[in-house]
Amino acid sequence: MAFTAFSGNAKAVEQAPKKRGWIALVLLAPGIAYMLLFFVAPFFQLALTSLQAPAESGGIGQYVAAAQFSNYWVALQEYWPHLLRSFIYSLSATIIGLLISYPLAYLIGVKVRHRPMLQGILLILVVAPFFISFLLRTLAWKAILPSEFIGTHFSVIFGLVYNFIPFMVLPMFASLQALDLRLVEAGSDLYASPATVFRKVTLPLSMPGIVSGTLLSFIPMSGDYVNASREFLGGTGTAMIGNVIESNFLQTQNYPMAAALSIILMAIILIIVATYVRKSGAEDLL
């Protein structure tokens, strides 16, 4: 066999052309300024607040700068059940949402791909709820659902699933829409049953959509304080960490506690997300 003539020349050398430093800087400047102003600065402010101690005068909401790391310990001791509940709710809602969103995204992105009109209508239906306020829709559910159901774990999880489904469907749709159906045909040509083709070809190739869809909903769900609040779908035993932070900030005015909880929440989400992305093999998303 004489294949040598055209083998071994496929070294695709990826070499970015040397950029002129100052142009890059100018282009980056607005982004950097934005991040400094609206992320880095508030974050430092939050971190400093989380270490404050009560003022000598002892008035409500009066704190002075300090390095009181024990705030974190107190926050964890007092509110770990709320943290745990938040993650259990968010995880359940993410799993239920995934089971609903993936088939929906598959229908829109693959099954009706050759019928653009129908595809457009279905996409609009997914996005349409955004045209009405999130709060109004959640309140509407409170009126629609039977009153015995309101204030339970289930009603809160129901609310989370309902409110975040579009955030899951859209990235999954984008992934599935880009799926090359010729690969599916190749799979069946190579002796794979439809179920195996799904497991070995469709699912892995739509994984980026699944990962970004679940992250886009899991992260805001963990910090959500609307669905679980008593004015909406929550009850006495359903407060999530978002509700605790809210009441510490706005009602008891315990700013260091609220700040410490915010940072703890952020850290836990970061750890969970990093582990998840690593395990799912979708590092490209980070």
């Binding site: 066999m1 294949f3 055209f6 496929a10 190749a186 040509d189 190579l190 049953s193 070809v201």
Partner: protein, 395 residues
């Protein structure tokens, strides 16, 4: 799972038989009526312009489409109702369709794993060695060049030792040099492993150099089928005469003849065609001759019962190709006639504007089955343009 597709390799290629196949899509008919038998172990090419139904035929055999009517038999077994994953058939796709998320090795081992064949990794390595790509086994498809991907696609199909291998214009995306080499390799692999190959292409040269049997397809039907030499030397329709190589065609009226030969007259001269080489023998018919069979003469050749002569005409174009010179000769009543002349002597033998007569042996003439020719003499242009025209006709 069907027995044929599970656990073992096909021991040899299998006959493929298409019986009364018809395929209609909403709005158009891709295949009118197709009966076709491809004997085991042969290299069969389906040749035709895009839209002629050749790829649909391939997809029907692979099971990726269901026929509207008709049966598909493989090694005598009716597989019409079998799902693609249960057919002992593999395809080398035009787009290669390599799985982008798997390594080259896993791509090649995919089919083996699905059928639970022993030592899939070892066999995949062997197949990659066959196409000399074992050194890229751990890479992903995106890291390979087009030619390498093509060879991986071939290895991924061949490794399964299917009874029938389907090739859907697999060389279309390669440049000329690579294509020549792959044609040679494919032919060699086919002979080594003894599988039945069904190759779909619109490249007449590719079909002729590779296949034992070529079927020329047009508008959902097979126009003519046979060995490449046979199709080239004795085309039976205008479509075949022009799609496979180039032809000079003349519309003539039959004017008597003998047992052996039909005599005809036309405005440009008398043309005779052997009776056994003509599809029709009365009325107005179309006859033709290949451009390389023609000879140029500076003066009217002496009468000879074994040759046809037309002319005089005037040379309107001379292109020197190297191995040959191509002349366009304007002959009154016959239009433009192409002549390919081997450069046995140095340099062209005639100049632009020269007055010439054309002759060829009667036995090189062929008579076609078509009723008439709308445009008088057609000379097929270089293939791309001819394909474009024919594709237009096929719409």
């Amino acid at each position: 799972m069907a027995k044929a597709a599970h656990g073992s390799f096909a021991e040899a290629g299998a006959d493929l038989e298409l019986v009364g196949i018809q395929k209609r899509f909403p709005g158009f008919t891709a295949i009118e009526h197709l009966d076709l038998t491809i004997p085991a172990g042969s290299f069969f090419a389906l040749l035709g312009p895009s839209g002629c139904g050749k790829t649909t035929t391939l997809r029907l055999v692979a099971g990726l489409e269901d026929p509207t009517e008709g049966k598909i038999l493989l090694g005598g077994t009716d597989v019409t109702a079998l799902k693609p994953h249960k057919r002992p058939v593999n395809t080398v796709f035009q787009s290669y369709a390599l799985f982008p998320h798997m390594t080259i090795l896993e791509n090649v081992a995919f089919g083996l794993r699905r059928r639970a064949i022993g030592d899939p990794v070892g066999k995949a390595h062997e197949a990659l060695q066959l196409v000399e790509l074992d050194h890229v086994a751990d890479r992903k498809p995106a890291q390979l060049s087009g030619g390498q991907q093509q060879r991986v696609a071939l290895a991924r199909a061949v490794v399964n030792r299917p009874a029938l291998l389907l090739l859907d214009e697999p060389l279309g995306a390669l440049d000329l040099k690579l294509r020549r080499q792959m044609q040679f390799e494919l032919k060699q692999i086919q002979q080594e492993v003894g599988l039945t190959f069904l190759h779909v292409t619109h490249d007449q040269e590719e079909a002729m150099t590779m296949a034992d049997t070529v079927a020329v397809m047009n508008k959902g039907r097979i126009e003519q089928m046979g060995a490449p030499e046979e199709l080239y030397e004795l085309p039976k329709t205008v479509f075949v005469a022009n799609f496979l190589g180039q032809s000079n065609l003349f519309t003539v009226d039959v004017d008597g003849g003998t047992d052996q030969v039909i005599h005809t007259i036309s405005p440009s001269g008398k043309i005779s065609v052997p009776r056994r080489r003509s599809e029709r023998d009365s009325g107005t018919i179309t006859v033709g001759v290949r451009p390389e069979k023609l000879r140029l003469h500076a003066s009217a050749p002496v009468d000879d019962a074994s040759i046809n002569v037309i002319g005089p005409g005037r040379i309107t174009d001379v292109s020197f190709i190297g191995v040959s010179t191509q002349y366009a000769v304007e002959v009154p009543g016959a239009g433009t006639v192409q002549v390919f002349s081997q450069n046995v002597e140095a340099g062209p033998a005639a100049k632009l504007g020269d007055e010439v007569w054309l002759s060829w042996f009667i036995e090189h003439t062929f008579g076609l089955a078509d009723d008439h020719l709308e445009t008088g003499a057609i000379t097929a242009d270089f293939s791309t343009q001819a394909i474009a025209t024919q594709a237009g006709l096929a719409e």
